[in-house]
Symmetry: C2
Subunit: 145 residues, 2 copies
Amino acid sequence: MDGTEPITAAEGESLFAPACTHPTAEDPAIEALVEAIIGQVADKWTLLVLEELTAGGTLRFTEIGRRVGGISQKMLTKTLREMERMGLVTRTVHPVVPPHVDYALTDLGHTLGAAFCGVWTWAAENRRRIETAQAAFDEREDARR
Amino acid sequence: MDGTEPITAAEGESLFAPACTHPTAEDPAIEALVEAIIGQVADKWTLLVLEELTAGGTLRFTEIGRRVGGISQKMLTKTLREMERMGLVTRTVHPVVPPHVDYALTDLGHTLGAAFCGVWTWAAENRRRIETAQAAFDEREDARR
DNA sequence: CGGTATCCAGGCCGATACTG
DNA sequence: CAGTATCGGCCTGGATACCG
C-alpha cells in the first residue's frame, strides 16, 4: 500500500466483493445486540440440535439426544430450553404416561437453519483444505523447536 | 404419525424447502469432522475478528484488538493463532523495531466471511423477534412461579 | 420418559508481569 | 508493539442421583 512491502506479500488477495457490509453496521449498540444473538445461536449444541430438527422434523427429547450423540441430558435440556426461549423451537407436552414431549422447529428456527446452511456447506467443502493447513502449521511449529 | 394427535398441532409448519440437505450427511465420520470445524469456527472471538478483517482489510495486532473491543491480548493472540492454523488469516512480520505484524484474511477466510453473512443478516433481521420471544418466555416463567 | 438438583473436575479467560 | 508466561477465579459441562 505505502511502499513498505512485507516479507509475505498478499499475493492471494483475490478482489472480493464485500458481500456482507451488513445492514446494521451503522449503530454500534445494535451491532452489540446482534453479536450477542450470534453468540447464543452459534453454539455447538444449538447447531447440532438445529441440524437434527431440520432433518428429522418433529422429534422427542430422547430421540434428539440419540441423534446428536455425545450430549448429556443436562446440556440437551439447557439447549432446547434456550432455543425455545428464542422462539426457535416449540415444545409440546403430551399428557400421557410415560411422558411424551415433542420438539419441532418454528418458522424462525427453519430460517436460522437456512442461514447456517452456507456455513455448513463451507465447512464440508473446505474440510480437507483446513486439515491440510493445520497439519502444515503444526509441522512448522515442530520444526521450529 | 401413529394417530395420537398432540395438543399443539403443527399448524405453523410452513412447507420449507429442505435447502440444506448438506452434501456430506452420508458419512457420519465426515459429519463429525465438519462439526469439529464448525465448533472451532463458530467461536465468539473468531467471528468478531473475522468481521473486522473483512471490513478493515489488512490490520495490525493492536488495531484488531481496538476494533473488536473487550478482548484480552491473550485471547486475541490465541484466536489469531488458531485462525492462522486453519488457514483463515496470514500473519506477516515486518522486521523493524518496534515490531510490526500485519494480519489479513486469506481467500479461505474471505469465503468463510461470506458464508457467515447469511447468519449475520439473519441475526440483524430477527433481532426484534427474538427479543420479544425471550421476554414473553421469561414472562411465562415468572407467572408460573 | 423427561426432566431437576447437586457435586465437582477441567478449561476458559482475564489480569498481571516480563521480554525481544 | 507484539507477544510469552504464570496465576487464579469462574463457569461450563459431565456424572450421578432422584422425581412426577
